[in-house]
């Protein structure tokens, strides 16, 4: 997750240290005390106290001298996701699209300039998922992220781009802001966003933004797969139209969702 500078009011330093520790563990998946102490610039003994405390509350698990995230976060995450309306509204459609395409399909929402996958389903082509629910991606190099940028107001896009470095991950990653803005224009006109090996070599992704009738950005649904399966026709035509069918249904269901609940 991005590291934010606390720019207003007083914050509690120990909590910030704890969050930095947890972020390092999340990023590296499994880390020892020495490495953590170096990463956050605190003494080994201090870091050890943090880790012991977090372990005591099931926030961390320890095995072979290294620490991993604990299941308490799944409880928090499960609830955080459960109360996202778009999760409730789109879940079954994401499942359906995964069955139709056989690929990995994700429901992504935008938070603080990043995309967070709040749900994903895998079709028959995948033996195991390539990523996990809750994983965070940058906007400029992912299909869902670019779909978000294309759906947000120009002011908001300028604000996000001003504070973001367009990191290049592959030859295809867009690292020039003007090129990215041009691409957003195209995404707006065709209502489909592509990631053509821009985040990971060998992986392509297609995404369509979900917006409410009043124009509010609710999220995006993406379909990703390896280049040998997401070949040109499938990548540029078949999957985009399947995605648009599903997103259209989610949008209509969203418009009428209050009715089904309350009438």
């Amino acid at each position: 997750m991005n590291e934010r500078q606390a720019d207003t009011g007083k914050t509690i330093q120990s909590i910030e240290t704890m969050i930095r520790l947890l972020d390092v563990i999340r990023r590296r998946e499994s880390v020892g005390v020495t490495e953590l102490a170096n990463e956050v610039g605190r003494s080994k003994s201090t870091v050890h106290h943090y880790l012991r405390t977090l372990e005591l509350y099931d926030c961390l698990e320890k095995s072979d001298g290294t620490y991993q995230l604990g299941l308490r976060f799944l409880t928090y995450g499960g609830q955080a996701r459960f109360r996202q309306r778009i999760y409730q509204l789109a879940k079954s459609d994401v499942d359906q699209l995964a069955a139709e395409t056989g690929e990995q399909v994700r429901l992504v929402v935008e938070r603080g300039g990043h995309g967070i996958a709040i749900y994903q389903a895998e079709g028959e082509h995948l033996d195991y998922p390539r990523s996990y629910v809750g994983s965070v991606d940058e906007l400029h190099c992912t299909a869902a992220g670019k779909a978000f940028l294309a759906a947000l107001s120009p002011d908001r896009v300028a604000e996000l781009l001003a504070e973001t470095e367009l990191v290049g991950y592959t030859e295809n990653t867009i690292t020039d802001k003007d090129v990215l803005l041009e691409e957003l224009e195209q995404i707006r006109s065709r209502e489909v966003a592509y990631d053509d090996e821009e985040r990971t070599e060998g992986i392509r992704c297609v995404a369509v933004a979900i917006t409410s009738r009043s124009g509010e950005l609710l999220g995006a649904i993406s379909v990703s797969g390896p280049t040998d399966r997401l070949t040109d026709e499938r990548f540029r035509s078949k999957i985009p139209s399947q995605l648009q069918n599903i997103v259209g249904v989610v949008e209509i269901n969203t418009t009428y969702s209050d009715w089904a609940d309350t009438v």
Partner: protein
């Protein structure tokens, strides 16, 4: 119900193209209209024409002082709205088709029965004078025993708001068959007095939906977003009923042929040909509105001969007569036979049966 027949207050849930049409007819008939719609854009359009702000949620509409309700939402949402209207003690006119699936249609019919409310379904063609007259001729036996009907509802170019909910299987429950085909089945079944299907042979195609070169000449509703197209745009079927009577059905939203909406009815004594084609093509802004009914007979005499005669009946506005029938029923509390929920359920089951047959 002690409503004054001369001025009722009717609630319309869903004021898109069809809801607005109902609202205008009701206003012309001197009734008051209030509305509910989930879509802010649609609410604004209604307000600018009717100077009353629609509710966001139908439950608010049901709590206000309405005499009856018309439902013209996307088809998938007929059921929750209709069910709660019945439970609020209100009679309902539901736009056709009754529901997006048979099970949803069955639940609507069951809710109407449980609450003892009137449920009429908007197959407005049944109220067209030429259709009513033909139904009467058949019923009184003028044609003898009717053995075959050829029903065609083909639009040359007329996919409704391609890319909107009309072309989404999950929201509409189907494509051309669900939309215009339901009218054709409704009329066919009324001519056959609600027969039981024995055998079905059916095929479906989707030839125009995915074409970017598809030339729009007419459509219902907007086509602002070219999204959602996962339904068929034509269906051909042959039906055999349990008493051996048969029917050919041709349905299309788009086809490279002349537009036609007709019913050729063959009886043992005489035949009839009903043509209610309404082309409404933008290429010909005056369009062509057929409203003809012809009878074909053979008579013996010194010289055996054909007698072909034209039935001339006054032109009427079927939407207006449908609404008047509904409002009369609301005031009197007596159920209209025409367009009742059981008939609509038969149509829904037939559509389902046809979809089961097509490998689509």
């Amino acid at each position: 119900m002690t409503a004054n027949r001369d001025q009722l207050t009717i609630g319309i849930v869903g004021v898109g193209t069809h809801g607005m049409n109902h609202a205008r007819v009701l206003r012309d008939l001197g009734h008051e209209v209030i509305a509910a719609d989930a879509d802010p854009t649609t609410r604004a359009t209604f307000e600018s024409e009717f100077e009353t702000d629609p509710y966001e949620n139908p439950s608010e509409l049901f709590e206000s002082d309405v005499d009856a309700v018309i439902i013209s939402t996307p088809t998938k949402f007929h059921e929750p709205v209709a069910t709660s209207a019945f439970e609020a003690g209100l009679d309902v006119l539901v736009e056709k088709p009754l529901a997006h699936t048979v099970t949803s249609a069955e639940r609507i019919a069951a809710a109407a029965k449980r609450t003892n409310q009137i449920c009429m379904v908007g197959f407005h063609h049944r109220f067209r004078n030429a259709c009513t007259v033909l139904e009467e001729y058949i019923e009184e036996g003028y044609l003898g025993d009717v053995t075959h009907i050829d029903a065609k509802f083909i639009r040359r170019r007329g996919v409704p708001g391609r890319g909107t909910w009309y072309t989404s299987d999950e929201i509409a429950g189907g494509g051309a068959l669900m939309d215009v085909g339901s009218h054709a089945l409704d009329l066919l079944f009324s001519f056959y007095d609600w027969p039981t299907i024995e055998n079905v042979l059916a095929t479906a195609n989707a030839e125009f939906g995915g074409q970017e070169s598809y030339a729009y000449l007419h459509m219902w509703g907007e086509d602002s977003e070219a999204r959602m197209y996962d339904v068929e745009d034509s269906v051909n079927a042959f039906l055999e009923f349990d008493d051996g009577r048969t029917a050919d059905i041709e349905i299309a939203w788009a086809a490279n042929t002349q537009s036609v909406h007709s019913y050729d009815v063959r009886g043992t004594e005489a035949g009839a040909s009903l043509d209610i084609t309404n082309t409404l093509e933008e290429i010909d802004p005056t369009g062509s509105r057929q409203n003809t009914l012809e009878l074909y007979e053979v008579r013996n005499g010194v010289v055996d001969h054909f007698v072909d005669s034209e039935v001339v009946c006054p032109r009427n506005d079927p939407y207006r007569d449908e609404l008047s029938t509904f409002l009369d029923a609301v005031v009197s509390g007596s159920r209209p036979e025409r367009n009742n929920v059981h008939q609509a359920l038969s149509v829904q089951r037939a559509i389902d049966r046809l979809y089961d047959e097509v490998d689509y």
